[in-house]
Structures are given as C-alpha cells and as structure tokens.
Symmetry: C3
Subunit: 320 residues, 3 copies
Amino acid sequence: MPLAEPEIVRRLESRQPSAYVLASLRGFGQVDLQAALLTGVAILIALWVSGWENGLSATLGTLIATATAYALAVDRAGIALGLQGYAGCLTGIALFSSLGNHLATYVLIVIGAMMCTLLMAALGTFLTPYGLTPLTAPFCLVSGVMVVGAPSFERVWHGAPAAVASTTTGDTAMSWSALWHAFFNNISQVFLIDSWYVGLIMLVGLALAGLRVVLYAAAGSVLGIVAAWVLGAPTALIANGIYGYNAVLVAIAIGAVFMANTVWTGVYALFGAAASTGLTASLTSFFKPFGGHTFTWPFILTTWVLMAAVPLLPRLRRSG
Amino acid sequence: MPLAEPEIVRRLESRQPSAYVLASLRGFGQVDLQAALLTGVAILIALWVSGWENGLSATLGTLIATATAYALAVDRAGIALGLQGYAGCLTGIALFSSLGNHLATYVLIVIGAMMCTLLMAALGTFLTPYGLTPLTAPFCLVSGVMVVGAPSFERVWHGAPAAVASTTTGDTAMSWSALWHAFFNNISQVFLIDSWYVGLIMLVGLALAGLRVVLYAAAGSVLGIVAAWVLGAPTALIANGIYGYNAVLVAIAIGAVFMANTVWTGVYALFGAAASTGLTASLTSFFKPFGGHTFTWPFILTTWVLMAAVPLLPRLRRSG
Amino acid sequence: MPLAEPEIVRRLESRQPSAYVLASLRGFGQVDLQAALLTGVAILIALWVSGWENGLSATLGTLIATATAYALAVDRAGIALGLQGYAGCLTGIALFSSLGNHLATYVLIVIGAMMCTLLMAALGTFLTPYGLTPLTAPFCLVSGVMVVGAPSFERVWHGAPAAVASTTTGDTAMSWSALWHAFFNNISQVFLIDSWYVGLIMLVGLALAGLRVVLYAAAGSVLGIVAAWVLGAPTALIANGIYGYNAVLVAIAIGAVFMANTVWTGVYALFGAAASTGLTASLTSFFKPFGGHTFTWPFILTTWVLMAAVPLLPRLRRSG
C-alpha cells in the first residue's frame, strides 16, 4: 500500500477536519490496496449503490476506525493514506451481512472498528520484522471472532441471515452468463457483495488508480474463474464470485503493489491468484465446523507466504 | 510479572531448600501475575479450601514445574519470582477437573508440569522479540493437548466428568444473587473453580499484593459481568464465573502489571476486560468441535494483542 | 540437516545435470533429515518396493520441487544437500494416498511440489530468527490444504480412498507380532506407508547415514511403542505405526541432528519422542472435524518447541 503521493499527504496533515474526510475516503480504496482518492470515492459510491445498509455499515466502520487511529495518536502519514480505515470498512459490511439490520449490529460495528485499529497496530508489531503488512487480517480477525461468538449472546443474535451456499455440490457446466457475472462479481465480492454492476463501478475505480492496477485486478478475476473451473467448482459459486475475489486481491497485491514490475512478478502474481482460489475451498471447510467465515483469509495467507518467500528467491524482487 | 523485590530474591538464591519452597509459593500468586509471597500463600489456602484434590493437584503441579526449572538450570531470578510454577499449578487443576481423581491423572500432572517448563522456555524464545511474556499459554497448550488427546487412550480416559454447560442457551434475567456470586466466582474461575468463598479468599490475597492490583481485579470482574449481561449471555453462566475470569486477568495484567499507571491505561484495561468476555464465547465455539478447552486463552490472546499494539500507539505506555 | 560434506557439494555445483539427480536423491534421505547419498538411494528403493504409485508420486514430487528451487535460484548449497526435495517427496505420496491414482492427482503433485519450494522459503523467513528450520512443515501445509479442499472440486475428487482407522477404539492387548510390526512400521509410516519390509529397507538406509542416526531412529520407534502402550492406545494402531513415526523423527532430529551429542540430549530426545506420541492423538482429534490430516505435525511441533526452548535451558546445547 505505498503510493505515497507525499505532497498531498503533507498538505493533508495541516488541515484537520478535511484530512479526516480524505483519510476516510482513501480507506475505501485501501480495501483494494489503493491510496488514490478517486478510487476510494468510486468504491464508496459502489457500496451505497449496492444497498443503503452496506453503504452505512461500511461508512460507519471506516469513519470510526480512522477516528480511533487519530485518538490513539497513530502515525499520521499512514492514517492519511487510508491505512487505518479499510479494515473498519470491511468489518462494517461483514457484521451487517452476518448479523442483520439491528441496532445491536451497528453498536458492534463501532466497537469492531475500534478493535480493527488496535489489531492493525498489534499485527504491525508482529509482521514488521518480516517486511509484511497486516493486509485485511485485522478485519478477518475482528469480524471472525464476533460472528463466531454472536450466537452465544441473546442481545446480539437474531437468527442467521440467508443461508450460505455449500461449496461441495452443484453443476459444473460453464455458460457465457456465468462467465461475465463471475468476472465482475469477483471484484464486488472483495466487499462481500454479489452484484455485477457494483463490481463494474469498483473496476472503474481501480482503473482510476492506474493501468497496472486495473489490469492485474482483471487478470486476477480471470485466473480465479479459470482455476475454479479447471478444479471443478460448482458454476453457481463461480458465478457469484465466491471463488475469485481472493484471486483479484492477490493479483493486485503481488502484481501491482508489493513487487517490482517484472515478468517474474507477473507469473508469481497469477500463480498466487490461482493458488488462492484452491485455498478458498480448504479454508471454507476448515471454518465450517465452528461457524467461522472465510472472508479474505485466502488472500492474506497466500500473499503473506509469497511475500515472505521473496527474500530467499533471487529471481523475485520486492518493490521500493 | 515484575515486582522484582531484588533483595529478597538475592537472599533466596543463597539458601536452596527454602528457596525452592518460597519460589513454589510465589508460583500460586503468579497465576494472577503477582510475585508477592502472601498472595501466593492466600491462593494456596484457597485452593485447598476448594477441595483436597484441587489443592493436591495444584501443589503437585507447582512443585514439579519449579523443580524441573531448577534441574534444567533455568534463570534463577525468574524461578525465585514464581514464574516457573504457575503454569504447573493450573495444569494440575485442569487435568484433575478434566480427567478425574485417578492415578493416571496424577502421573499426567507430573509430566504436564515438566512440559510447562519446556513450553515456558520455548514461548520465551518466540515472544521476547516482541516484548511479550508467555502468560498462561504454557498451561493452556499442555492441558489443552492432554485433554483433547485423552479420550484416545484407554489407560488415561475414564469417561468424561460432569458435563460442561452450553454457552448458547439459558435465561438472561439478572438477579442480586447471580450478581454477587458472579463477582467472586470470576476470581475463583481463574483457577477453574466455581466457589464464591474461594474467590473471596483469593481476592484477599490480591489485596495483599497492593491496592492497584485488587482494584483492577475487582473492576475486571465487574466489567466481565456488565459486558456479558449487555451482550445477553445466560445468567447461569455469568453467575458461575464462566464469562468473567478472563476479564479479571486482563484487567490485572494491563491495568496493574504491564503498563504505566495512567488514565489511558485504565481505559485500555477495562476495554480489554470487556473484549475478553466476548472472545470467551467465540473461543468456546471454536474449541467445541474437537473437544478443546477455552481455559485462559481469551485472557492470553487479548493481552498479547493489546500489549503488541502499544509500541505503535503513542497514547499508551508500557511500565518499566 | 547439516552433514555438510562440503567437497562433494562443491563438486556437484560445477556439473549441472548430475547435480540435479544427486540433489534429488539426497532429497529422499532428507525426509529423515539425512543428507547421505546412500540413505537417499535406499529410501528411494524402499518407496518403489512399496508400490509403483508411491515410487512414482514420490519421485515426481522430489524432482519437481528440486527443479523449482533451481528455477527460482534458491541457494545452491541447500539444493545440493536435498533440502529442497524432501517436502515434494512427501507431498507426492500424501496426495496419491489421499486422492487416488488419477491424472488430476499427478497434476496436483506437480503443483504441490512447486508450492513446497515456495513454502520452504517463506517458512525460512519466519523461522530463521529463532534458529529453527521448516522441517516437514511445507509438506504438511501444502498437502493438508489440498486434501481438505479436494472434496469441493469435482475434477479433483473421486471419492475417499480406504477409510482411516479411528484412534479411539480397539483392543489394547500387546502381542509379539504387533510389537515387531510396529517397530518397522514406525519407520515406514514416516512416508505414510504401512509395510514392515519397507521400514526395514529404510532402517538399513538410516544405518548408512551413521550409527548415531540409526540408533536414535530405533530408540524413537521403541519409545513410540512404549508410550502408546502405556497410555492405552489400540494395539492395531500401534502395530501399523500410526503412533510411532513421529517419535522416530523427533528422536533423529533432537538426538542425532540438531543437538550436541550429550546424555542430556539423549534424555531430551527420548522425552520428545514419547511426547510426540501423545500429541499424535490430540492433533488427530483436532483435524477430524474439518477433514485435515495429522501427517508429521506432531514431529514438527514437538521439535520446534524443544529446539526453541534450548537457548533458555543451559543444560542443553544445540549442535554446531
């Protein structure tokens, strides 16, 4: 998540109220590892287009997480780049979609967003020695813990929302409709949303962050579809983006953010994208017995492993 | 677990037999992160009051773990402060309460206490770079592994003891009786014991360690009750201390041991105490499918995360 | 996995094609932590004796993993010692035995072996600060993820192979036949193979690596049998080596490879061997709900814990 834009950042730090708004806007883009302001705006629009509860939950989570970072005096440059907001954004959406539209849910979003800032700092301590970043792990940890614990608490739990589709059954024949839906849903499912036009708006937002970013995002989506189809995943799950959103994130992270722009990087990024697709099935099976959620763990684990391997693989080079 | 008392420690190291007894006595207090001798004595009394098997198991575990540390030439200053005994203490109680009063159980307590000393060293290696300590993790790992594995072995397993209450059902109306029972049981459940007067003796022991310690212990207990009630946990579980003992430990660790004595520390400690209450439900659900035990994992994970976050949060300061 | 033999290694690096073959041959021996060429040859023979699919899968995995390491320019000295091949070897056998003799399985073996090389590098980054090595963890991670995910994919999954025996039931009376079968099966089960003469050939291979190696391997096998019998494991599971192969690996690793050759090391190695036997039951219970496999995790975790503890235990000394 570099993209320093140091001049803008410096100017932001002098004017507080607008700095807070801009930092939060960038937070939406940082879910896709992009600090570009317009990307954040496009994604915010896409989230509200997908439904007002999604928009509200994501906005609330982002604002609270960013504000918590200010309150705890976290490094200003990181806040300004949106690095303290994105985990709160996803936590908002995840808690709404798992716990439903209740007052208790919004209270939990506030608390969860605050916890995201603490976990961002804690994971920073653990990962910095290895040159890794927390990615979306604070979101996965906070939301995962809350969703797993929720059924134990009467004032939090109002029954499970819509059933999640099983990953083990279903027809595997591919169709044109499934294909193009999958391509855009892989983008929107990064935000736990199953909607092709939301994905399209987000893809436009990624294009605003640069050609390399949008190309890797698109390539990741295609690789996710191909890998899932080759393995023999049910078409319905491919079509709604379940098997591809981690591939999109891995392709962006490895291909367009953390590594030098070389041919080896391209191969590495696409290999990682395909690997994360397979890992999605494994983690879903792992989480099932105790009611945990896969969220973006396949992306996180794949990216951590691939980036941790780089120092011992001279063919590959980190960026910067 | 500082509380160095350097003169006493130095004197202890010269006279071996009494040093061993004193180090073991301090081990009982270190379960609550206190090195004060009188705290250890009060807790030892409380354990024997709760039942001779608890007393015997805890004493055996503490003595063996401390002796193992001497035999392996572990740092003497740490042994003298009781830092090698407390995991053995809890392992003794946990194995007795999970496997019952059988000869095989006491043999396992001896082996488990020895393993605690090895895990204390191994975790020390892993955690020291981050400025963290093993807390009760050696106990949780050794006892957890043994309890999960036990049903596979005929000579170890004599059937499950009393059923553990489910965390997902039950009345949530609060009563005065439930309230004050919960307050004291939250203290005694740190040692897996459900008895208000045992908790009362232990609280007296904590008072002997200092005002700040007993106040944070009491505040942690209250926060645990409040958080569990607000979330909507079954009253019966709140009353027997299941939802509050981790809050007590987090409040002591963050509020009275590891951090500087500031207002921010107080807020942080109480926030952590409440968070550990929620985490208790999540971890219990996580452990259920494979028969694992929650033990003090919510305390450990909460405290590790909060302490690891401190270096990146300038508002907060570690002690010492 | 030292055993540097620096002259041979240096010569290997000058002649590429033969270097690749020799590095791969050493890879088979490195499953038992031995770099000796003859040990690798003996184990390769044993694998083909056990069945052509085992031989083919193991050979394919080893060759691909080693070739991937060359392609990614991994440190040549490590490749020459076989350190890049052994995880691929085990991945080959594990995928064949879990997914059956299908074309898709062999494709997965190729991909899995490549992933082993990446995970070897990633774990190297994480473990080097603690003076630990990845052991067989790359194999356990890659194969575990693939086996857990496989049932979700139609083109990968062709139904479960032979049922795995339960660890919780069965007669516990010991017999001479069970005893000697167990002794050799503990050696062959390191490669997931249940065959006494395969174990015998492998033991001969270990003898070719040196007296200390074969003595610790044999002692580990005996300790595994004794510990499992004392705990009360079903005789059938002891006889087919399920409870002893981790003990063999721990005894070799601690007793003959990573630590100085002292009496304390011997006690430590045999204690670890017995502990890994108990841990086998716990991990099997942990993996059961989500369909994971125990593989060599008990060896890995036991060895990591014991080696990480050494710096804080002055009685014990690492080798080298």
